[in-house]
Symmetry: C2
Protein backbone atom coordinates (compact mmCIF):
# COMPACT_ATOMS: atom_id res chain seq x y z
CA UNK A 1 0.00 0.00 0.00
CA UNK A 2 1.76 3.03 -1.33
CA UNK A 3 0.30 5.54 1.13
CA UNK A 4 1.62 3.50 4.08
CA UNK A 5 5.05 2.96 2.51
CA UNK A 6 5.36 6.71 1.97
CA UNK A 7 4.35 7.38 5.56
CA UNK A 8 6.93 4.85 6.85
CA UNK A 9 9.67 6.45 4.72
CA UNK A 10 8.68 9.92 5.84
CA UNK A 11 8.02 9.41 9.56
CA UNK A 12 9.51 6.02 10.52
CA UNK A 13 12.79 5.88 12.40
CA UNK A 14 15.16 2.94 12.25
CA UNK A 15 16.85 2.18 15.59
CA UNK A 16 19.63 -0.31 16.38
CA UNK A 17 18.41 -3.89 16.93
CA UNK A 18 16.10 -3.89 13.88
CA UNK A 19 13.57 -1.71 15.64
CA UNK A 20 11.34 0.48 13.50
CA UNK A 21 9.73 3.35 15.37
CA UNK A 22 6.37 4.32 13.92
CA UNK A 23 5.07 5.83 17.11
CA UNK A 24 4.11 9.05 15.38
CA UNK A 25 1.26 7.44 13.43
CA UNK A 26 0.72 3.76 14.32
CA UNK A 27 1.45 2.66 17.86
CA UNK A 28 1.72 5.58 20.27
CA UNK A 29 0.22 8.51 18.42
CA UNK A 30 -2.38 7.20 15.96
CA UNK A 31 -3.23 8.78 12.62
CA UNK A 32 -6.85 7.64 12.59
CA UNK A 33 -7.48 8.83 9.02
CA UNK A 34 -4.55 6.76 7.73
CA UNK A 35 -5.71 3.71 9.71
CA UNK A 36 -9.17 4.11 8.26
CA UNK A 37 -7.70 3.95 4.74
CA UNK A 38 -5.71 0.88 5.78
CA UNK A 39 -8.94 -0.70 7.03
CA UNK A 40 -10.55 0.05 3.68
CA UNK A 41 -7.65 -1.68 1.87
CA UNK A 42 -7.97 -4.71 4.17
CA UNK A 43 -11.67 -4.83 3.33
CA UNK A 44 -10.75 -4.78 -0.36
CA UNK A 45 -8.51 -7.82 0.28
CA UNK A 46 -10.82 -9.87 2.54
CA UNK A 47 -14.26 -8.33 2.04
CA UNK A 48 -15.65 -11.36 0.21
CA UNK A 49 -14.41 -13.95 2.73
CA UNK A 50 -17.45 -13.91 5.03
CA UNK A 51 -15.43 -12.72 8.04
CA UNK A 52 -17.47 -12.83 11.26
CA UNK A 53 -14.86 -11.51 13.71
CA UNK A 54 -11.63 -9.58 13.75
CA UNK A 55 -9.10 -10.82 16.29
CA UNK A 56 -6.14 -8.77 17.48
CA UNK A 57 -3.88 -8.53 20.52
CA UNK A 58 -3.57 -5.64 22.96
CA UNK A 59 -2.47 -2.94 22.92
CA UNK A 60 -1.36 -1.46 19.64
CA UNK A 61 -3.34 -3.88 17.44
CA UNK A 62 -6.63 -2.52 18.80
CA UNK A 63 -6.58 0.71 16.79
CA UNK A 64 -6.03 -0.88 13.36
CA UNK A 65 -8.45 -3.70 14.24
CA UNK A 66 -11.24 -1.23 15.09
CA UNK A 67 -10.65 0.90 12.02
CA UNK A 68 -10.79 -2.28 9.94
CA UNK A 69 -13.87 -3.78 11.64
CA UNK A 70 -15.81 -0.64 10.78
CA UNK A 71 -15.59 -1.57 7.10
CA UNK A 72 -16.55 -5.21 7.71
CA UNK A 73 -19.39 -4.46 10.13
CA UNK A 74 -18.19 -7.19 12.52
CA UNK A 75 -16.97 -7.07 16.14
CA UNK A 76 -13.34 -6.91 17.23
CA UNK A 77 -12.05 -9.32 19.87
CA UNK A 78 -8.75 -8.42 21.42
CA UNK A 79 -6.63 -11.04 23.14
CA UNK A 80 -5.30 -9.93 26.52
CA UNK A 81 -1.76 -10.32 27.77
CA UNK A 82 -1.87 -12.17 31.12
CA UNK A 83 -5.02 -13.29 32.83
CA UNK A 84 -6.87 -10.35 34.31
CA UNK A 85 -9.35 -10.28 37.13
CA UNK A 86 -12.13 -9.42 34.72
CA UNK A 87 -11.81 -12.54 32.58
CA UNK A 88 -13.57 -15.38 34.27
CA UNK A 89 -14.67 -18.82 33.26
CA UNK A 90 -13.42 -20.65 30.22
CA UNK A 91 -10.58 -19.06 28.32
CA UNK A 92 -8.43 -19.96 25.34
CA UNK A 93 -4.81 -19.37 26.30
CA UNK A 94 -1.36 -19.51 24.72
CA UNK A 95 2.14 -18.36 25.67
CA UNK A 96 3.70 -15.72 23.41
CA UNK A 97 7.17 -14.21 23.54
CA UNK A 98 7.32 -10.51 22.73
CA UNK A 99 10.12 -9.40 20.38
CA UNK A 100 9.98 -5.81 21.62
CA UNK A 101 9.71 -6.45 25.35
CA UNK A 102 11.73 -9.70 25.62
CA UNK A 103 9.05 -11.18 27.88
CA UNK A 104 6.76 -14.19 27.73
CA UNK A 105 3.06 -13.38 28.11
CA UNK A 106 0.00 -15.52 28.65
CA UNK A 107 -2.31 -14.40 25.88
CA UNK A 108 -5.96 -15.16 26.55
CA UNK A 109 -9.37 -14.81 24.96
CA UNK A 110 -12.55 -15.52 26.85
CA UNK A 111 -14.39 -18.59 25.58
CA UNK A 112 -17.54 -16.50 25.12
CA UNK A 113 -16.13 -14.50 22.22
CA UNK A 114 -14.79 -17.11 19.78
CA UNK A 115 -16.73 -20.18 18.73
CA UNK A 116 -16.76 -22.91 16.11
CA UNK A 117 -19.02 -20.89 13.76
CA UNK A 118 -16.59 -17.98 13.55
CA UNK A 119 -14.57 -17.07 10.46
CA UNK A 120 -11.76 -14.99 11.92
CA UNK A 121 -9.54 -12.38 10.32
CA UNK A 122 -6.46 -11.71 12.44
CA UNK A 123 -5.33 -8.06 12.30
CA UNK A 124 -2.18 -6.64 13.86
CA UNK A 125 0.10 -3.63 13.53
CA UNK A 126 3.39 -5.56 13.23
CA UNK A 127 4.59 -8.95 12.06
CA UNK A 128 8.23 -9.75 12.81
CA UNK A 129 9.21 -13.25 13.93
CA UNK A 130 5.56 -14.31 13.85
CA UNK A 131 5.26 -15.34 17.51
CA UNK A 132 2.16 -13.21 18.18
CA UNK A 133 0.45 -14.25 14.94
CA UNK A 134 1.15 -17.95 15.54
CA UNK A 135 -0.26 -17.54 19.06
CA UNK A 136 -3.43 -15.90 17.74
CA UNK A 137 -3.89 -18.66 15.14
CA UNK A 138 -3.58 -21.18 17.97
CA UNK A 139 -6.34 -19.37 19.94
CA UNK A 140 -8.68 -19.45 16.93
CA UNK A 141 -8.08 -23.17 16.49
CA UNK A 142 -8.67 -23.84 20.19
CA UNK A 143 -12.13 -22.37 19.60
CA UNK A 144 -12.68 -24.66 16.62
CA UNK A 145 -13.07 -21.56 14.46
CA UNK A 146 -11.74 -20.92 10.96
CA UNK A 147 -8.73 -18.65 10.29
CA UNK A 148 -9.66 -16.72 7.15
CA UNK A 149 -6.23 -15.08 7.08
CA UNK A 150 -4.16 -12.32 8.58
CA UNK A 151 -3.92 -8.63 7.70
CA UNK A 152 -0.87 -6.82 8.99
CA UNK A 153 0.06 -3.16 8.76
CA UNK A 154 3.87 -3.56 8.68
CA UNK A 155 5.70 -6.83 8.15
CA UNK A 156 9.42 -7.03 8.74
CA UNK A 157 10.03 -9.47 5.89
CA UNK A 158 13.65 -10.09 6.87
CA UNK A 159 12.59 -11.59 10.22
CA UNK A 160 10.79 -14.44 8.46
CA UNK A 161 7.61 -14.75 10.53
CA UNK A 162 5.27 -13.91 7.67
CA UNK A 163 6.78 -16.44 5.29
CA UNK A 164 6.76 -19.08 8.04
CA UNK A 165 2.99 -18.65 8.44
CA UNK A 166 2.40 -18.49 4.65
CA UNK A 167 4.22 -21.84 4.33
CA UNK A 168 1.57 -23.32 6.64
CA UNK A 169 -0.99 -22.42 3.97
CA UNK A 170 -2.41 -19.42 5.80
CA UNK A 171 -3.11 -16.27 3.82
CA UNK A 172 -1.09 -13.34 5.15
CA UNK A 173 -1.56 -9.90 3.59
CA UNK A 174 0.73 -7.15 4.78
CA UNK A 175 0.13 -3.57 3.70
CA UNK A 176 3.88 -2.85 3.76
CA UNK A 177 6.66 -5.45 3.83
CA UNK A 178 10.13 -4.23 4.77
CA UNK A 179 12.80 -6.33 3.09
CA UNK A 180 15.80 -4.57 4.58
CA UNK A 181 16.52 -1.68 6.89
CA UNK A 182 19.86 -2.49 8.51
CA UNK A 183 21.67 0.32 6.72
CA UNK A 184 19.14 2.74 8.22
CA UNK A 185 17.50 3.07 4.80
CA UNK A 186 14.21 1.22 4.34
CA UNK A 187 13.75 -1.05 1.31
CA UNK A 188 10.27 -2.55 0.68
CA UNK A 189 9.56 -5.96 -0.89
Amino acid sequence: MQLLEEKIRQDGQVLPGNILKVGSFLNHQIDVGLLDKMGEEIYRLYGKDRVTKILTIEASGIAIACMTARHFGVPVVFAKKSQSQNISGDVYSVKVESFTHKKVYDVVVSGEFLNAEDRVLIVDDFLANGKALIGLIDLVRQAGAQVVGAAIAIEKGFQGGGDLVRKQGIRVESLAIIEQMDSGEIRFR
Copy 2:
Protein backbone atom coordinates in the same frame (compact mmCIF):
# COMPACT_ATOMS: atom_id res chain seq x y z
CA MET B 1 -26.77 8.13 26.39
CA GLN B 2 -29.79 5.90 26.22
CA LEU B 3 -28.36 3.43 23.69
CA LEU B 4 -25.39 2.73 25.95
CA GLU B 5 -27.51 2.44 29.12
CA GLU B 6 -29.73 -0.09 27.36
CA LYS B 7 -26.68 -2.05 26.23
CA ILE B 8 -25.27 -2.08 29.79
CA ARG B 9 -28.59 -3.29 31.20
CA GLN B 10 -28.89 -5.94 28.53
CA ASP B 11 -25.32 -7.29 28.33
CA GLY B 12 -23.47 -6.02 31.42
CA GLN B 13 -22.81 -8.40 34.31
CA VAL B 14 -22.37 -7.26 37.89
CA LEU B 15 -19.75 -9.23 39.81
CA PRO B 16 -18.82 -9.09 43.49
CA GLY B 17 -16.39 -6.28 44.40
CA ASN B 18 -18.25 -3.64 42.38
CA ILE B 19 -16.96 -5.03 39.12
CA LEU B 20 -19.06 -4.46 36.01
CA LYS B 21 -18.26 -6.83 33.17
CA VAL B 22 -18.90 -5.26 29.79
CA GLY B 23 -16.47 -7.47 27.91
CA SER B 24 -19.08 -8.44 25.35
CA PHE B 25 -19.15 -4.96 23.78
CA LEU B 26 -16.60 -2.56 25.30
CA ASN B 27 -13.33 -3.99 26.57
CA HIS B 28 -12.69 -7.50 25.30
CA GLN B 29 -15.09 -7.96 22.41
CA ILE B 30 -15.80 -4.55 20.88
CA ASP B 31 -19.06 -3.50 19.25
CA VAL B 32 -17.47 -1.08 16.80
CA GLY B 33 -20.80 0.27 15.55
CA LEU B 34 -21.88 1.16 19.10
CA LEU B 35 -18.51 2.79 19.81
CA ASP B 36 -18.85 4.82 16.63
CA LYS B 37 -22.20 6.16 17.88
CA MET B 38 -20.56 6.94 21.23
CA GLY B 39 -17.82 8.83 19.37
CA GLU B 40 -20.50 10.81 17.55
CA GLU B 41 -22.12 11.72 20.88
CA ILE B 42 -18.76 12.81 22.30
CA TYR B 43 -18.30 14.99 19.22
CA ARG B 44 -21.69 16.53 19.88
CA LEU B 45 -20.51 17.39 23.41
CA TYR B 46 -17.00 18.66 22.61
CA GLY B 47 -17.02 19.34 18.86
CA LYS B 48 -16.83 23.13 19.29
CA ASP B 49 -13.94 23.09 21.77
CA ARG B 50 -11.09 23.16 19.25
CA VAL B 51 -9.70 19.80 20.39
CA THR B 52 -6.29 19.06 18.78
CA LYS B 53 -5.61 15.64 20.34
CA ILE B 54 -7.42 12.80 22.04
CA LEU B 55 -5.50 11.20 24.88
CA THR B 56 -6.30 7.79 26.31
CA ILE B 57 -4.54 4.98 28.16
CA GLU B 58 -3.86 1.46 26.94
CA ALA B 59 -5.37 -0.95 26.41
CA SER B 60 -9.16 -0.74 26.48
CA GLY B 61 -9.33 3.04 26.06
CA ILE B 62 -7.81 2.80 22.58
CA ALA B 63 -10.96 1.54 20.84
CA ILE B 64 -13.31 4.27 22.07
CA ALA B 65 -10.57 6.89 21.56
CA CYS B 66 -10.11 5.90 17.90
CA MET B 67 -13.83 5.75 17.19
CA THR B 68 -14.13 9.23 18.73
CA ALA B 69 -11.09 10.74 16.98
CA ARG B 70 -12.61 9.82 13.63
CA HIS B 71 -15.38 12.36 14.25
CA PHE B 72 -12.97 15.07 15.40
CA GLY B 73 -10.38 14.48 12.66
CA VAL B 74 -7.53 14.63 15.18
CA PRO B 75 -4.88 12.07 16.23
CA VAL B 76 -5.15 9.77 19.22
CA VAL B 77 -2.25 9.51 21.66
CA PHE B 78 -2.35 6.56 24.01
CA ALA B 79 -0.37 6.59 27.24
CA LYS B 80 1.59 3.39 27.83
CA LYS B 81 1.75 1.44 31.06
CA SER B 82 5.42 1.04 32.03
CA GLN B 83 8.29 2.33 29.98
CA SER B 84 8.79 0.25 26.86
CA GLN B 85 11.92 -0.21 24.81
CA ASN B 86 10.33 1.69 21.96
CA ILE B 87 9.81 4.92 23.86
CA SER B 88 13.05 6.84 23.88
CA GLY B 89 14.07 10.34 24.83
CA ASP B 90 11.90 12.72 26.80
CA VAL B 91 8.74 11.33 28.32
CA TYR B 92 5.98 12.61 30.55
CA SER B 93 5.43 10.11 33.31
CA VAL B 94 3.10 9.52 36.26
CA LYS B 95 2.34 6.64 38.62
CA VAL B 96 -1.21 5.26 38.47
CA GLU B 97 -2.83 2.59 40.59
CA SER B 98 -5.19 0.27 38.73
CA PHE B 99 -8.50 -0.49 40.44
CA THR B 100 -9.00 -3.69 38.43
CA HIS B 101 -5.51 -5.11 38.62
CA LYS B 102 -4.44 -3.79 42.08
CA LYS B 103 -1.05 -2.76 40.67
CA VAL B 104 0.84 0.51 40.35
CA TYR B 105 1.92 1.33 36.78
CA ASP B 106 4.26 3.93 35.37
CA VAL B 107 2.13 5.63 32.76
CA VAL B 108 4.13 7.44 30.09
CA VAL B 109 3.66 9.55 26.98
CA SER B 110 6.54 10.45 24.72
CA GLY B 111 7.40 14.15 24.80
CA GLU B 112 7.01 14.29 21.00
CA PHE B 113 3.26 13.78 21.06
CA LEU B 114 1.96 16.37 23.52
CA ASN B 115 3.02 20.00 23.51
CA ALA B 116 2.03 23.37 24.90
CA GLU B 117 -0.17 24.20 21.88
CA ASP B 118 -2.36 21.13 22.34
CA ARG B 119 -5.98 21.24 23.49
CA VAL B 120 -6.52 17.74 24.79
CA LEU B 121 -9.71 15.73 25.22
CA ILE B 122 -9.15 12.73 27.51
CA VAL B 123 -11.23 9.70 26.50
CA ASP B 124 -11.49 6.44 28.41
CA ASP B 125 -13.79 3.46 28.73
CA PHE B 126 -14.19 3.55 32.53
CA LEU B 127 -14.05 6.08 35.35
CA ALA B 128 -14.17 4.63 38.86
CA ASN B 129 -11.98 6.11 41.59
CA GLY B 130 -10.47 8.54 39.08
CA LYS B 131 -6.83 7.47 39.46
CA ALA B 132 -6.25 6.93 35.72
CA LEU B 133 -8.01 10.17 34.75
CA ILE B 134 -6.09 12.20 37.33
CA GLY B 135 -2.87 10.64 36.01
CA LEU B 136 -3.73 11.57 32.42
CA ILE B 137 -4.58 15.15 33.47
CA ASP B 138 -1.15 15.30 35.14
CA LEU B 139 0.54 14.18 31.89
CA VAL B 140 -1.26 16.88 29.87
CA ARG B 141 -0.16 19.52 32.37
CA GLN B 142 3.44 18.28 32.32
CA ALA B 143 3.33 19.05 28.58
CA GLY B 144 2.00 22.55 29.29
CA ALA B 145 -1.07 21.67 27.24
CA GLN B 146 -4.73 22.49 27.95
CA VAL B 147 -7.20 19.90 29.25
CA VAL B 148 -10.44 20.59 27.37
CA GLY B 149 -12.24 17.93 29.39
CA ALA B 150 -12.82 14.23 29.68
CA ALA B 151 -15.28 11.94 27.90
CA ILE B 152 -15.93 8.60 29.52
CA ALA B 153 -18.02 5.68 28.35
CA ILE B 154 -19.07 4.33 31.77
CA GLU B 155 -18.63 6.17 35.06
CA LYS B 156 -19.17 4.34 38.32
CA GLY B 157 -20.66 7.35 40.07
CA PHE B 158 -20.68 5.67 43.48
CA GLN B 159 -16.87 5.42 43.46
CA GLY B 160 -16.53 9.21 43.43
CA GLY B 161 -13.70 9.72 40.95
CA GLY B 162 -15.76 11.71 38.47
CA ASP B 163 -17.11 14.13 41.04
CA LEU B 164 -13.61 14.57 42.50
CA VAL B 165 -12.32 15.70 39.11
CA ARG B 166 -15.40 17.88 38.43
CA LYS B 167 -14.75 19.66 41.75
CA GLN B 168 -11.35 20.66 40.37
CA GLY B 169 -13.21 22.57 37.67
CA ILE B 170 -12.57 20.06 34.90
CA ARG B 171 -15.43 19.17 32.58
CA VAL B 172 -16.21 15.44 32.75
CA GLU B 173 -18.91 14.03 30.47
CA SER B 174 -19.82 10.38 30.95
CA LEU B 175 -22.14 8.66 28.51
CA ALA B 176 -23.53 6.45 31.29
CA ILE B 177 -23.19 7.06 35.03
CA ILE B 178 -23.97 4.15 37.32
CA GLU B 179 -25.28 5.38 40.66
CA GLN B 180 -25.72 2.00 42.28
CA MET B 181 -25.26 -1.64 41.41
CA ASP B 182 -24.54 -3.40 44.68
CA SER B 183 -27.83 -5.26 44.66
CA GLY B 184 -26.89 -6.68 41.26
CA GLU B 185 -29.40 -4.34 39.64
CA ILE B 186 -27.99 -1.34 37.82
CA ARG B 187 -29.37 2.15 38.57
CA PHE B 188 -28.21 5.08 36.44
CA ARG B 189 -27.79 8.69 37.64
